[in-house]
Structures are given as C-alpha cells and as structure tokens.
C-alpha cells in the first residue's frame, strides 16, 4: 500500500491552517478578540462542571498535591477566569482556537481542536441572534446542505421543575429524553407520581419537533408553566430572525434536544453536515453557569469542531 507522505501531510496542515484563518478572520471581522487559555484546570475549581461530565471522560494529570485535569471545555475555562473579576457594564466578544482533551473508555486520549466564540454581558436576545447568525453563516459557507437543530433548554427545565423529582430520577429522565427512548420514557413515567397533565406534557415532548408554529400550538394544548412559555416565546423570536436571514429551511426545532454539557439555560443548538456523523457546531446560552462563579452575566457562545469541518466541509 501507499503510505501518507510528509508532503501530503504538510499539504493537509496547510489547508487546515487556511480554514482556521478564514474562520478566525470572520470572528475578528465581527469584533471578537482572541483569548489564549491554559491547557490545565484545577479539578476542584470546576467541580460542578466535572460532576456533569462522565468521570471517565476527564483526562487527569497529577501535579504536586493538586489533581489537575486537561481542559475538557473552553467555555468553562473562560467563565472561571473572567467572571470572578467581572466589571459591571462590561461587554466582551471573545474567540478561542485550541484543543480540548477527552478520555475514551478504552483509555485512549482524544485531542479535539475547537474554534469558538463567547459573547458576554450583552442583552440576551441581541447576543443570541448575533451568535446564532454567525453559526449559520459559517456552516453555510462550507456546505450549504447543513442542518441546525435548535431548542431552548428552559422548556425541559420548566417541565422537570414541575415534577419534583430526585437527582437520580432527573438524570434518568434526561437520559431517556436524550435518547428519544419513548418506550422506556412511558414506562419510567408510570413509576413516578405525576399529575396527569404533567405526564401528558412529558410524553408529548418527543413529538415537539418540526415546524415551530405548529409545535408551539401543540405544546400549548398541554401543561405549560411560565418558564416553558418563556422558552417558546424566545424561540418564536429567533425563528422570525432566521426567517428574515433566509435560513429557515436549514433550521429544525426540536424541544426534546439536550446537550452533552448540562450548563445551558436558554437557546441551545447543534449543527450538522450531510455525510458527517459528528456535531460540527454546538452552542447556546449559559447565564446560570456564570452564576456558579459569583455573578449572573448574560453569556452565549458556540464551538466548532475544526477537524470535522475540515474533513466534511468541502473547503
């Protein structure tokens, strides 16, 4: 067989560098500033995040008496550094381009290159639109067959809050929703002591995808609390914005959408390319995560999987 030669490898790296430059230029053009981050995190400082991640996915490093971990997530690093010394009235637009590390069950360490932005301190809706718009623009630039899934995490949060469940029950419930496992969801809900209207709303959740207007009507026929209604209203607003941009055929609403990292509170989205089987982009709003570091600041962002984009994005 013919093996990959140095020349080929360099060519590949050259192309990838060019792609990264293009995206960074787009970020800078929109007023985002580059931020360099440390590759190490202190395990204790990000306890709340690492509790949500599966322990076996974290790459641990032992330095002196501290247990350090290799950065698993850019957003968490940024928030941990900036929020404790936040100045009132500050508005920041930041971007990063570096690696995160994940350990797989067989002990292999994966190095994942991510490019992404964070928009901090700006009025929520304005920032949501800008960040979501930029994600659409980048996806569209490298493959016009892209699809983006959108939801607002307040919908599921509102529903779960109405159910008064234990931590374990919530975790199990979210896992079933995340796997669209209707059969076991029905089974599980029968074991919970839920009012009829809330159970119906829960079982209806997996059907809430597709055309937003129809889906809102459907959701309104079932149990709805103010948090859930707020989620729907925010999504309607976002839809009006994406319709105006002309991206409506790329945007799929799915209210049962959940994210791997559970710190989002508000808009959430995942973007895909045909023939790629990884998320190219994922992001959302995470104000309540900033609160864990001292103050609640408006915060929204996304990250791109640079390797997958390079591979599948026809660049």
């Amino acid at each position: 067989m013919e093996y990959f030669r140095i020349e080929d490898e360099l060519k590949y790296h050259g192309k990838r560098y060019q792609l990264e430059k293009e995206i960074e230029d787009m970020f800078m053009h929109e007023g985002y500033t580059h931020l360099e981050l440390s590759a190490f995190e202190n395990l204790d400082q990000l306890r709340s995040l690492y509790n949500k991640l599966k322990k076996e996915h974290i790459v641990k490093v032992y330095g002196g008496s501290d247990i350090l971990v290799l950065r698993t997530d850019h957003t968490a690093s940024i928030i941990k550094n900036l929020i404790p010394r936040w100045e009132p009235g500050l508005k920041l637009k930041l971007f990063y381009n570096s690696d995160v590390f994940r350990s797989s069950p067989n002990g292999e360490i994966k190095e994942i290159k991510q490019l992404g932005i964070e928009y901090l301190g700006e009025a929520a809706l304005k920032a949501d639109k800008e960040v979501f718009g930029l994600a659409l623009q980048i996806l569209n630039r490298y493959d016009q067959g892209f699809i983006i899934e959108v939801s607002n995490s307040k919908f599921i949060r509102g529903l779960i809050e109405a159910m008064a469940l234990s931590e374990e029950e919530i975790e199990r419930l979210k896992d079933l929703i995340d796997r669209k496992n209707r059969f076991e969801l029905v089974e599980f809900s029968e074991g919970l002591d839920l009012p009829e209207e809330i159970r119906n709303s829960l079982l209806n959740l997996l059907d809430l995808q597709g055309d937003l207007t129809a889906l809102v009507k459907q959701a309104e026929q079932n149990y709805l609390n103010p948090t859930m209604a707020e989620a729907l209203a925010e999504l309607m607003e976002l839809k009006a914005f994406t319709d105006k941009l002309g991206y409506s055929q790329h945007v799929y609403f799915d209210l049962s959408l959940l994210m791997e990292l559970d710190y989002y509170d508000g808009l959430i989205f995942k973007g895909y390319y045909p023939n790629s089987f990884k998320e190219i982009v994922c992001g959302g709003r995470y104000d309540s995560f900033t609160e864990e570091f001292g103050q609640k600041i408006s915060a929204v962002g996304f990250s791109l999987d640079a390797d997958e984009l390079m591979e599948k994005g026809g660049a």
């Binding site: 796997r179 669209k180 209707r182 059969f183 799929y252 895909y272 023939n275 790629s276």
Partner: protein
Amino acid sequence: MDYLKIALAKGRIGKDASKLFKGIGLCDSLDPDSRKLIFKDEKNKISFTYVKSSDVITYVQNGVADLGVVGKDEILERETDLYELYDLGFGKCKFAIAGIENQKLYAKDQVLKVATKYPKVTKKYFAARNQKIKVIKLNGSVELAPLVGLADVIVDLVETGSTLKANGLNVIEEMFPISARLICNRVSYRFKYQLITQLLSALKEMEA
C-alpha cells in the same frame, strides 16, 4: 434520493426483523439464511445489511447505517450515543443471576465471583446493591464457570432457562427484561427525518 440504510443483527433477532420488515411491505428479497449480506429494496429506497450483533451499534454510530436492529443487551453493554426509537417487541429475554442449585453462594465471604459476557451491565447492577464482586469476563459457555469453580455465579441472558437447567443451574435473581430495539444515528435522524418517521408509523400500525 438517498437510501435508508438499516443494519440487522445476525441470528434470531435478524430473522424476526426480516419477518417484521417484510410484513410492512419492505424488501421481499430479504433472506436472513442467505450468504448474501446486503439486500436492497429499490422501490422503497431501503437497504438492509446483516452484521454480527455486536457490530450493529458500530455501524449505526459511524453512520454507515442510519438505523439498526439490535438487542437491548448490546446497548446496555456499550457506551453509545444513539437514539433508541422503538421497542420492537421480539427477542424477549431477561438478564438474570444464576448459580448451582442448592449451593451456598459464596465460596469465600466478602467478594462474589461473577462470570459473564456482560461486565458493564454486571458491575453496574451489583454496584447499585453495594455488593463487592470480581468480574470474570467470558466470551461463551458462561454456564460452565460455576461448574468448574471459575465463579460463584453467572450473569447472563436467560430465555427459557433450559440451558441453565441442563447444566444444573437455576436463576437466583431476575435482573431486568430485554428486547430488540430500533436504534438510530443522531445525524441521520435529522437528515432523514421524514423517511424514519414514516417507517416508525408503519411499524406502529403493524403492531396495532
């Protein structure tokens, strides 16, 4: 338009699945006993592939198949990032703990030695019950383990229990039921949403 690609686990689940899909009018040529591994239904734009049951998840996870039919046991034993869209209702059996009839469970006091093909399922089940165990992973003939003194008990799939009985073992505790599931790649689900929901409603109608 693209084909909807479905991976089926070889063996009994694959046979039941072929009956089911033929029953809703798909892919007449589907034949689980044939040496052929790929079957295409040109009219409905669906293709079926027979693969080893432990590979179905790999196929679906990597997107070479959009959907897969596989036992819940495989899903529980693997780390997966998939949708579980439907319980197909066949391939029913149970995970159970089994041991030698009328014998004291523990060879030594504290740690229970458990032989199984399913270390992940086993560890999780016993950990939730605060029982210390030592898992011995086997790839087949798990029933032998207690007989030859390799383990105190076994954790395995039990359907009728006749294999256990033939080897002088019986079920000590039923763990949970298992059946065949329709799994789906997350990205395929979005790009082929229409086709997949059509298939799901056909399956539901069939059941009703």
